[in-house]
């Protein structure tokens, strides 16, 4: 039995210690917002937070997270102090406002990577966004909007910082 905090609640998994966290979350905890994409840590669809940092849950064994804090897309809004009455995290709000998702399958992972970035870097530059987001593949090609949404969310999170000069030139109009 391995116990850890899942979205703020204690969760005990009676499973093989080497079972990847992704399948603990999906098959045992029945939280399906975290997606399976590659099983090798190559695409980022399975990204969750481990003590606030973005990790690939498909290659993280259960025994590596004992006693640690895991946050999934379902728990993201309550992990932020900046939630609005709609209970969406500012990154989620920016995603909706920018019509980021297309098929949407990778977006939980993209949002978890983006929110982990903003938690440590309130006003990332384009270069910093590129570095933080390069592990997350989007086959639909929503990258220009992901970049714009991260800049927008940064503005919401730190309204006093002028992020205009960081704005990407990747989106026209």
């Amino acid at each position: 039995m391995i116990t850890f905090s899942l979205n703020g609640k204690e969760f005990s998994a009676d499973a093989d210690p080497f079972m990847p966290l992704l399948w603990v979350i999906r098959d045992l905890a029945q939280l399906q917002g975290t997606k399976f994409g590659c099983g090798q840590g190559l695409c980022g669809a399975c990204t969750v937070h481990l003590d606030g940092a973005a990790i690939r849950s498909c290659i993280t064994p259960l025994n590596a997270i004992e006693g640690r804090h895991i946050t999934t897309i379902e728990g993201l809004s309550s992990s932020s102090d900046n939630t609005t009455p709609s209970h969406d995290h500012p990154v989620q709000q920016a995603w909706i406002k920018n019509n980021v998702p297309q098929c949407g399958y990778c977006q939980s992972g993209q949002i978890m990577s983006a929110s982990a970035l903003l938690a440590t870097n309130a006003a990332p530059t384009d270069e910093e966004i590129t570095r933080a987001m390069s592990g997350n593949i989007c086959r639909c090609g929503t990258y220009p909007r992901i970049r714009q949404a991260i800049h927008d969310a940064a503005k919401t999170l730190t309204p006093n910082i002028d992020t205009e000069h960081f704005q990407s030139d990747l989106t026209s109009e």
Partner: protein
């Protein structure tokens, strides 16, 4: 515009009225609907249901896989129903004859055609429901129809306003009126920026994809497969797999050994222990070099089928002052949808229920029918959201596998493919080899173009799966299978497969002498529809070779295209748009170069320009600075989704142009996951400048038409920069 609709989707255009066409939906009666009226709910037609508590439901008959069809088609309904798109409760339609695609005869989502084929029927359906509410209100308020206004989801008369739901009891007994559709100046939603209806659920992790749709009772299954597609197990050993944690059963199906366990990871772990001796399929000797030599032999030895024959090509080539020749080649490609193939099945002796992320729910139903041995009316298909489709989910092999596993195990299961399964068991974008010849006359103008291509046709593979969905359900199973097996013969020896030559045979270029022919040559690796299909390679071939002609005949590539497209105003407009926005005719910095391309596909014209620079400080590596794109897709429904689809198509096209390559050794696909089948990532995305031509014409495709342009625009820019013509994909930036 005015239209009538009967309660089924069949549309009758009843003629011109003062403002335009009159339409009617002809309804054969409630018997033709998949849902029946109840005391609480009115089934206005195949798409719309309004309940007494004023819930307006739209039964979406095309599948959402990222292209935005959920938002777009709901907007068409909202426009004529006078409600906001967000107010409409979008449900997924069942498999039913009412929802068959008028162009394909199948209930499929593909060909960038959901909007264009729904443009008249859905607006007519909504306008008809609206007018029936108006008539019902007039009846209830004992006034004339003209005295009732419909706005904001309510009927208004004098100072009374009541929601639609208050009138359903009267409306359901009314006859179907002929209606007029709004003219463009009356649109309040069509063509206006709007939110994506699926953005909130996809940003909160609450959207249900196929992989999330399994009922709680389903166990998880994985399949041990032959390294070569089509191989079957000669013998196999479990080596203790059946005793591993969570494992419930191990069964053999036609193409492998299925392991069923409580969790998918347990099934995968147990599968590693199983050893199989395989019967290899005939093409297991296939390798990349034999594929290419096979295409070369096919071009040399077969005349193929004529796809286009304008003028007299032989004479024109004889008369030419100069003949330019070139050979182009593209590899096989995988779709690599982010959500791997999966399907959930509950199967009993007389009932089969499946949950599948599929672009063809009726073809999925046939696959389930054949695999289960049940009858069509005993199969229920639940279509889910899809983590990408790109054509891959038009094939239902994963449904067949899942139903067979459920049948042989007697267990409710969800089959989930691994990424390795996905990359190595695709229906691949065909590899193709073509040869061009062009003649330049004494005045330096291009007089003729000759094309001969060799590639495997896709239709035989489609025919095999889809035949059952278009043939009557009462035909015996054996007869359906034997008709389905005719595909290779019909499309190999008798018919030309239009998708193999699309983009060339139907090119807009006006050459006086224009000849195109196709040799069907199938090396054996199965093929399927891949976002933009034949255009994905034919635009690269054609637009690169046209560029060669321009350079060889010392013409400006942009001006020469304009003169060859003078009778195509939409192509001309998009070409001019990109040239203007990218300042084609202005002098560039010495290290900056541009390439241009234009193509017409899915009834949409797109022009694209790639601007690159040579990085002297980085071993002269080529950097892609910017992609400029102009599109004419007729009337936009949601312009931001059109823009998103251009961005999406450009990035998909960049992966094709710079990375995509499936290689074969001994019949097996050598790539397996994203480390060796790479996709474009955020660090590789250039600036994009997208322009949508303002148009009131009927809408045309947007999901695919940007994809084909990226490779030729880039290849042409690379030639401008280096003088080297790259005639195969992927391109090298070194």
């Amino acid at each position: 515009m005015s239209t009538t609709i009967n309660r089924r989707q069949f549309l009758q255009t009843s003629g011109l009225t003062g403002t335009g066409l009159a339409f009617s939906l002809s309804i054969g009666g409630c018997a033709n609907l998949s849902r029946a009226d109840t005391a609480h709910a009115w089934q206005a037609n195949a798409w719309l249901e309004i309940t007494a508590d004023n819930t307006v439901s739209f039964y979406l008959h095309r599948t959402e896989m990222g292209q935005g069809t959920m938002t777009g088609l709901t907007t068409l309904i909202a426009e004529e129903l006078e409600v906001s798109p967000e107010f409409i409760n979008v449900k997924t339609s069942s498999v039913h004859a009412n929802y068959v695609h008028p162009d394909y005869g199948l209930q499929i989502t593909g060909g960038s055609s959901s909007t264009s084929s729904s443009w008249i029927p859905l607006r007519t359906a909504a306008a008809t429901a609206r007018e029936m509410i108006r008539r019902a209100a007039a009846q209830r308020w004992n006034t004339t129809i003209d005295n009732v206004q419909i706005a904001d989801g309510k009927a208004h008369f004098k100072d009374i306003s009541l929601p639609y739901g208050d009138f359903i009891d009267i409306a359901k007994h009314l006859s179907i009126p002929t209606v007029s559709l709004k003219t463009p100046e009356q649109y309040s939603k069509i063509g206006k920026p709007g939110i994506r209806l699926d953005a909130p659920m996809k940003s909160k992790g609450t959207a249900t994809f196929g992989i999330d749709a399994a009922p709680a009772s389903c166990l998880k299954a994985t399949l041990v497969r032959c390294p070569v597609i089509g191989g079957t197990a000669k013998s196999w050993k479990t080596n203790g797999a059946q005793d591993m944690p969570g494992v419930k059963k191990i069964v053999e199906i036609h193409n492998g050994i299925a392991v069923i366990a409580a969790s998918w990871w347990q099934a995968k772990e147990a599968a590693k222990a199983i050893t199989v001796d395989w019967n290899m399929p005939p093409f297991s000797a296939l390798s990349d070099d034999t594929i290419l030599s096979g295409f070369r032999d096919a071009l040399a030895n077969n005349s193929g089928k004529v796809a286009r024959d304008d003028g007299d090509i032989e004479q024109a080539l004889d008369d030419a002052e100069q003949v330019i020749e070139a050979e182009y080649y593209v590899p096989y490609l995988a779709h690599a949808t982010m959500e791997p193939m999966n399907c959930s099945v509950i199967l009993t002796d007389n009932y089969c229920e499946i949950w599948a992320p599929t672009q063809g729910p009726d073809i999925a139903a046939v696959a389930a029918e054949h695999a289960s041995g049940l009858r069509r009316n005993q199969v229920t298909v639940h279509t889910t959201l899809m983590g990408g489709g790109f054509g891959r989910r038009l094939n239902q092999d994963f449904v067949e596998e899942a139903v067979l596993i459920a049948k042989h195990s007697g267990l409710p299961i969800q089959l989930i493919w691994s990424r390795e399964d996905d990359i190595q068991n695709d229906f691949y974008r065909p590899s193709a080899l073509v040869r061009f010849k062009a003649g330049i006359d004494k005045t330096g103008n291009v007089s003729c173009l000759s094309h001969k291509g060799a590639s495997p046709n896709i239709m035989p593979y489609t025919f095999k799966e889809a035949a059952g969905a278009v043939l009557p359900a009462w035909l015996p199973d054996g007869m359906v299978k034997s008709i389905a097996s005719l595909g290779p013969t019909i499309y190999g020896d008798v018919l030309l497969d239009a998708t193999s030559v699309e983009g060339i045979a139907d090119s807009c270029y006006q050459f006086d002498h224009f000849h195109a022919r196709h040799v069907q040559h199938d090396p054996g690796l199965r093929v399927g529809y891949w976002r933009s299909v034949g255009h994905s390679f034919n635009a690269f071939f054609m637009e690169s070779f046209v560029d060669e002609i321009a350079h060889e005949s010392k013409q400006d590539p942009y001006s020469m295209r304009l003169s060859l497209l003078s009778e195509h105003p939409r192509m001309t407009a998009v070409l001019k748009s990109v040239a203007q926005h990218a300042q084609w005719d202005k002098t560039k910095a010495p290290s900056v170069f541009q390439g241009i391309a234009v193509h017409h596909s899915f009834n949409t014209s797109v022009a694209m320009l790639a601007e690159i620079s040579i990085e002297n400080n980085n071993n002269d590596r080529i950097r892609i600075n910017k992609i400029v794109c102009a599109v004419d897709c007729g009337q936009t429904i949601n312009p931001d989704i059109v823009k998103a689809q251009m961005e999406s198509g450009i990035i998909f096209g960049l992966t094709q142009a710079l990375k995509g390559k499936i290689t074969i050794r001994n019949g097996a696909v050598q790539q397996s996951n994203f480390h060796d089948y790479e996709l474009i990532r955020i660090n590789e995305v250039p600036e994009m400048d997208i322009h949508i031509i303002d148009s009131r014409a009927a809408p045309t495709g947007v999901g695919e038409p940007a994809v084909p342009l990226v490779a030729p625009a880039l290849a042409n820019a690379i030639f401008a920069a280096t003088g080297k013509r790259q005639r195969s994909l992927p391109l090298s930036l070194l």
